[in-house]
């Protein structure tokens, strides 16, 4: 009985084999082209980064760093010593990014919670308005912020940059956090309260740990957007120089290779962040996988 079945299966496999070799030509060409095509697209995406990294190792001559001269590690050794103005700009950019990320993430999370949770007057319009800073061109936002700051008599500098960055970051945080909360199972909070946790404890012990990945994603996004913002910063900075503004200024007289080095370092840090993030996501997926029927759907 079992032997007969095995033989039948074997003959089925044999019958299948020549059929597989006779696939249509078009499909075979397609299968050959697809990897090449994919490789080209990936190369297209990563070429600028590769160039940036490579020219950080370039033993350049003179002001310009556009042609390959030879390999050196010198710029890595001098990255923090050769360009004091760049260091200042970098510190400023980090300061702006940290402050605006913390403030925008806090406010944005609260708005996201309110929008996802509560029915209130103006909720519909607010849901839409929150997209405006994302949708409007940065030039427009920057110009109008400048007009606003000047008209109320604020002197341009760190404070105005931070205010501007918080403004555009809040929208991104709200959108990210709201999406996370939308999939949140309210009965988990009810269960916490049922077990004697008041509102604050419930938030601390249940709500926050569960929406934390969303908040973290929002914060990383906010930080990334802030640290390399150019357009809005240009309008609101006055005499203050952030890292992107300094690089732009330097490019007119020749970008020093230390900029490439700095760019490479920032890229490496970002890459590390992404890796950590995806690890966290994987852990969380297994956490969510078995929370019981109907939980994911959010009843």
């Amino acid at each position: 009985m079992a032997g007969a079945t095995a033989r039948a299966e074997a003959s089925a496999v044999r019958a299948d084999a020549p059929h597989r070799a006779r696939r249509p030509l078009g499909r075979r060409i397609g299968e050959a082209i697809l990897p090449i095509f994919t490789a080209l697209v990936v190369a297209y995406l990563f070429l600028p980064i590769v160039v940036m990294i490579a020219f950080g190792f370039n033993d350049n001559v003179g002001r310009f760093n556009f042609t390959w001269q030879g390999f050196t590690l010198e710029h890595y050794a001098t990255v923090f010593s050769s360009q004091p103005r760049m260091n200042q700009a970098l510190v400023l950019s980090f300061t702006v990014a940290v402050i605006s990320t913390v403030v925008a993430t806090t406010l944005g999370t609260l708005i996201g919670l309110a929008l996802a949770r509560y029915e209130f007057r103006g909720r519909g319009p607010l849901n839409l308005l929150i997209f405006l800073p994302i949708a409007s061109p940065e030039v427009v936002l920057g110009a109008s912020l400048l007009a606003l700051f000047v008209s109320v008599g604020m002197s341009l500098g760190l404070v105005t940059i931070v205010i501007a960055h918080i403004m555009f970051n809040i929208s991104f945080v709200v959108v990210t956090v709201r999406a996370r909360i939308a999939g949140f199972n309210r009965s988990l909070e009810e269960a916490a309260m049922d077990l004697g946790a008041d509102e604050m404890t419930t938030f601390r012990k249940v709500t926050f740990p569960l929406i934390f990945p969303g908040i973290l994603a929002a914060a990383l996004l906010a930080f990334a957007l802030s640290i390399d913002d150019f357009v809005i910063t240009q309008f609101t900075a006055g005499q203050t120089v952030t890292f992107p503004l300094w690089v732009y200024g330097a490019s007119r007289i020749g970008v020093p290779p230390q900029v490439n080095v700095m760019g490479t370092i920032i890229f490496a840090v970002a890459l590390l962040g992404i890796l950590l993030w995806s690890l966290l996501q994987r852990r969380e997926r297994t956490l969510r996988a078995g929370t019981g029927p109907g939980v994911g759907a959010g009843s």
Partner: protein, 383 residues
Amino acid sequence: MPQPDVRLDRVTKRFGDVVAVDDLSLVVEHGEFFSMLGPSGCGKTTTLRMIGGFEETSEGTIYLGDADVTDLPPFRRDVNTVFQNYALFPHLTIYENVAFGLRRRKIPDGEIRHQVATMLALVELPGYERRRPHQLSGGQQQRIALARALINHPRVLLLDEPLGALDLKLRKQMQIELKRIQTEVGITFIYVTHDQEEAMTMSDRIAVMRHGRIEQLGPPEDLYERPSTDFVAGFLGVSNLIEGEVAGRDDRFAAIRLPDGTVLRAPSASVNGAPRVRVGVRPEKLRVLALTDEASSAANGLNTLDGVILDASYIGVSTQYLVEIASGQRLVVYAQNIETSGAAEAHPDGQRVRLTWRPEHTFVIGAAPMTPSDEQPEGEIHA
């Protein structure tokens, strides 16, 4: 007399224009397994959520013991809930899930460890402390949800269709388990379900709900044997209802005359004074006899109706007959397969038969007709 654990006094809940719970009053005694049974939208879950503190009442008062808890938040009420989807905290271990309530009350660690172990033993999952909810099966998660609630020794445990997501076999097993645990811990259970068998298996008393009101309340036998409305008769199992008129009554029995002149007897207590009524009898109370001399002699003192077998279906434990009586109405009969072997039907299609049953097994319902919009367990035939 011990004080009731839960008392609802004229509680109403409105969602906008919709009345979910309508002027409901209810008393649940200490240590009782009390079920609220009804179709979806009957207000049973809303009532439970108001007792738990998750919904505010629109009107009325809720008492736990003699304390008015109507306006207290859930974390200030001495009740705990087992949620329909368990609602275990996915980011915490089983240990921390079960210990959650004790931690809120700042119980010392050693005491918590001891109590969690005791609880896990009670729900027969000892040694599961370090697992996470997603590593457990549905039935195991259900037990943990129960342990997490019971560890707080609440005055009342609320259960919102806790077995709804389990498969039939596990559900049956958990029903017995739940009843065992309830007896063991002696805590009042208020259980919400739409499954009449589940409610009947476990409950001391059942409130059958419809349109935000209690349709009938009583022990399972009462509801089944003496339903007071069409809805209850139809929701708990299958029943045959025949229209008639009260023709007279004495101490024990009332006589009800059917349009064709047949007189049936029913317990006097079940007749409430309305002249036009419906006489009801459960399918398993009916006996089918072939129309012979034997039948007429056996019918002494019993209610009898003559009819024709339309259909007979053998379903193992019983045979279901569909019998058309003189008025053209069709009655359902469940005959236990005590003497038949199944292969040879005792009563073939088309046979003229006499149905007999004891007057005590007859119930009477006032003639208010059922509205067609009512949800009913469709075609569910329980043997």
